[in-house]
C-alpha cells in the first residue's frame, strides 16, 4: 500500500470516528419540556393581597448544556379578584402591547447534576428576563429534583417592578416595589 493510500485510509478512519462521536453526543443530549409549568406572582402591599398564578408556563432545558428557557403569557395570570386582574393587564403590564414575558439563560452548574440518580440538586441560573418589553440580566438559585428520572425545577426570586418600566400610581403603596416570583415546573 502506498503512502497516499495509507494517509487516505487513516483520514477516513478519523472522520468516521469523529462522526460516530458527534452522533453519540447528539443522542446523549436530552431536551426536557413542559407546557403546563406553574408560576406564582405576589406583589402584595401592606393591606391588600395582590397575587396571581399562571399554569401554562412553556419551558425547555437541555441537560448537556444547561440552556433553559421559560415563556409565559401575561393574560394567563389568574387573580382571585377580577378587578385586580383587569388592572394588572390594562394599567400595569399593558398586556395587549406586551403579551408575553420570557427568560433565556443557563443553569450554570448543570454538570453537578447526575441525571441518572434521583435526588434534589441545588441549581444556579443566569440569564435575561424580559417583562413588559424590558430585558434585564438576572441571577438566581433554585432546586432541580429528579424523581424516576423526571425533573422538577423550583425557584423563587424578586423583581423590582420599576426596573421593567412598569409604572402605576399604587406601586410602593398598595402594590409592593418588588414582586416575588415563584416557579414550579414539572418536565
Amino acid at each position: 500500500m502506498n503512502l497516499k493510500l495509507k494517509l487516505t485510509s487513516v483520514l477516513s478512519f478519523i472522520i468516521i470516528l469523529l462522526l460516530i462521536g458527534m452522533t453519540q453526543t447528539a443522542s446523549a443530549q436530552k431536551v426536557f419540556a413542559t407546557k403546563s409549568g406553574q408560576i406564582y406572582f405576589n406583589a402584595a402591599g401592606a393591606l391588600v393581597k395582590i397575587a396571581a398564578v399562571n399554569n401554562q408556563v412553556d419551558s425547555k432545558f437541555v441537560d448537556a448544556t444547561g440552556q433553559i428557557i421559560f415563556g409565559v403569557l401575561i393574560k394567563g395570570f389568574k387573580f382571585e379578584n377580577q378587578l385586580m386582574e383587569d388592572h394588572f393587564n390594562e394599567n400595569y403590564m399593558e398586556s395587549t402591547q406586551f403579551p408575553k414575558a420570557d427568560f433565556k439563560g443557563y443553569i450554570t452548574n448543570i454538570k453537578e447534576i447526575n441525571f441518572s440518580k434521583d435526588g434534589t440538586y441545588p441549581i444556579q441560573v443566569e440569564g435575561t428576563l424580559t417583562i413588559h418589553g424590558v430585558a434585564q440580566k438576572i441571577t438566581t438559585k433554585g432546586t432541580l429534583t429528579l424523581t424516576q428520572g423526571k425533573p422538577t425545577i423550583v425557584g423563587e426570586f424578586n423583581v423590582k417592578i420599576k426596573d421593567y418600566g412598569i409604572s402605576g400610581m399604587y406601586i410602593g403603596d398598595k402594590i409592593a416595589n418588588q414582586a416575588v416570583i415563584k416557579l414550579n415546573c414539572k418536565y
Binding site: K35, S36, G37, Q38, N55, Q56, D58, G71, V72, L73, I74, K75, G76, K78, E80, N81, Q82, L83, M84, N89, S95, T96, P99, K100, N184, K186
Partner: protein
C-alpha cells in the same frame, strides 16, 4: 336642619360611598369573574388559528387576544396540569405548533385522543403553541 343633623348625613354618605367602593373592589369583583362560556366566541378551526399566529403574531393578537374563541380540531393528547385541571393539545401531529388548552375544570372529558372536539375558551396568545384558557367543551 340643624348642623348636627347635617354632619350625621355627611358622615353617613361618606360611609355609604366607602362601603360601596369596598364592596365593589373586594367582594363583588372576587365573586364575579369573567364568564367566557357565556360570551359569543369567534368560530375558527385549530389549523386556521395556529396558521394565523404563525404568519403574523401581532395581527393574530389584534384579532384573538383576550377574546372568546370556539375552536374545532383533533385531540393529540390529554393530560392534567399541576393544579389537576384537564389539558389538551389540539392540532396536527406533524405540525410545529399546536393549540394548548387548559380546561376550566378538573372533570375528565368524554372525547378521546384522535377524535375531533370543539372547545370554547379564552385566547391568551402564543408561545410555542397558541394558548387557550378556561376551556369548556361545546
Amino acid at each position: 336642619m340643624s348642623t348636627k343633623n347635617k354632619i350625621i348625613i355627611v358622615i353617613a354618605l361618606i360611609a355609604a360611598i366607602a362601603f360601596g367602593i369596598y364592596y365593589y373592589v373586594f367582594v363583588y369583583s372576587s365573586q364575579h369573574r369573567r364568564q367566557v362560556q357565556s360570551e359569543t366566541g369567534i368560530v375558527i378551526t385549530s389549523d386556521s388559528l395556529i396558521a394565523k399566529y404563525q404568519v403574523d403574531e401581532k395581527l393574530a393578537n389584534s384579532l384573538y387576544l383576550n377574546k372568546a374563541v370556539v375552536v374545532t380540531g383533533v385531540i393529540l393528547s390529554i393530560d392534567k396540569n399541576q393544579e389537576g385541571k384537564t389539558t389538551l393539545v389540539i392540532g396536527r401531529s406533524d405540525s410545529f405548533s399546536n393549540l394548548s388548552v387548559t380546561m376550566i375544570s378538573t372533570a375528565p372529558i368524554t372525547q378521546k385522543v384522535g377524535e375531533s372536539i370543539t372547545i370554547k375558551g379564552l385566547c391568551t396568545g402564543a408561545l410555542s403553541d397558541v394558548v387557550i384558557t378556561d376551556g369548556v367543551v361545546e
